[in-house]
């Protein structure tokens, strides 16, 4: 499957099937810090991904100390 990561934007390929939460552990990403998106739908940690899936792992953290967000 293809995984799109952001900040900076890049793509990686991962073979095999696994659960989203296991994939995030492999990628060393805390689950509460990203949305995992497939086919314009959000996935929870127990969803199985693999094969021809294209996943976007979108970070949710806002930066800096501005005052609008």
């Amino acid at each position: 499957m293809k995984i799109i990561l952001r900040n900076p934007r890049r793509e990686i390929a991962v073979d095999g099937k696994r659960r989203v939460k296991d994939l995030l552990v492999e990628l060393e990403i805390l689950p509460s810090t990203v949305l995992v998106i497939r086919d314009n739908e959000l996935l929870t940690g127990d969803a199985t991904v693999g094969g021809d899936d294209v996943l976007e792992v979108r970070p949710v953290m806002s930066g800096g100390r501005g005052d609008t967000r």
Partner: protein
Amino acid sequence: MKCRKCGGTAALELRRHNAAFCSPHFLEFFRKQVAEAVHRHHMFTREEKIMVAVSGGKDSLALWDVLIEDGYQTAGLYLDLGIFDYSKESKAKCEAFAAARGQTLHIERVAEAVGAPIPVVQQATRRPTCSACGLSKRYLMNRAALEHGYPVVATGHNLDDEAATLFGSVMHWQTDALPRQSPALASTHPKLVRRVKPLYRLSELETAAFAFLRGIDYIVEECPFAKGATSIAHKEVLNRLEEASPGSKHNFLFGFLEKARPAFEKVENVELHECTSCGQVTTGAICAFCKLADLVKRRTS
């Protein structure tokens, strides 16, 4: 994973609530949390005009979306920081959002007010970028709200933002800052508008999920100056705590607001004046914003 309310496929797991929700029920949960925040802190009424400070990011646009859908009278305020393509893109997102919903968007340019865009301000003053940026935003939000007749400014600060700010204040025991950390700051002078944070009960993950599920086109990329910011380091620490013990951030912030904040509140004998240069409110003769603008002018001329 199943939705707690309907048993359908869940779109989001909320570990701190030991729950998961499908898309419609998550959107319902989110709106209820905002309504609870507005009600609990008497943030604004349906008769008032609310200025929503928007950055083009997920939080502020999600907030504006909720308030519009709930029938509040709102307008947006976008502060153009002049940060290269980041500002161009974020401004375009705000303009598109406002146009699609038939809302007014006010735009203020930092370069016009301070004399230079934020990257030049940073170089000229050697201040941390987020510091000069935050000062400029607070000043311009208040000024714009006064000029356009809005009694209250709503910002998109979420639970993670507030917990990280609290963490930073406690780490340095900034006891002057602690009483000011509140979901709603009252007006203490005729020239100071109220400031409220209706998203303070919702995490960053939740605001991002809401924006995504509502189809809001927000800027995902970080501000180029955010890298290395102290507030980011504090968020990372808190995220690790949250992972080990869900609800940690919630308990930290809400425990402070309910139990500790009153202990730090004191009768402030700070006398407020109007800046002799610009007329905005300050504790001294010249406000911090005018001092910043003067420094930028001297160092860039």
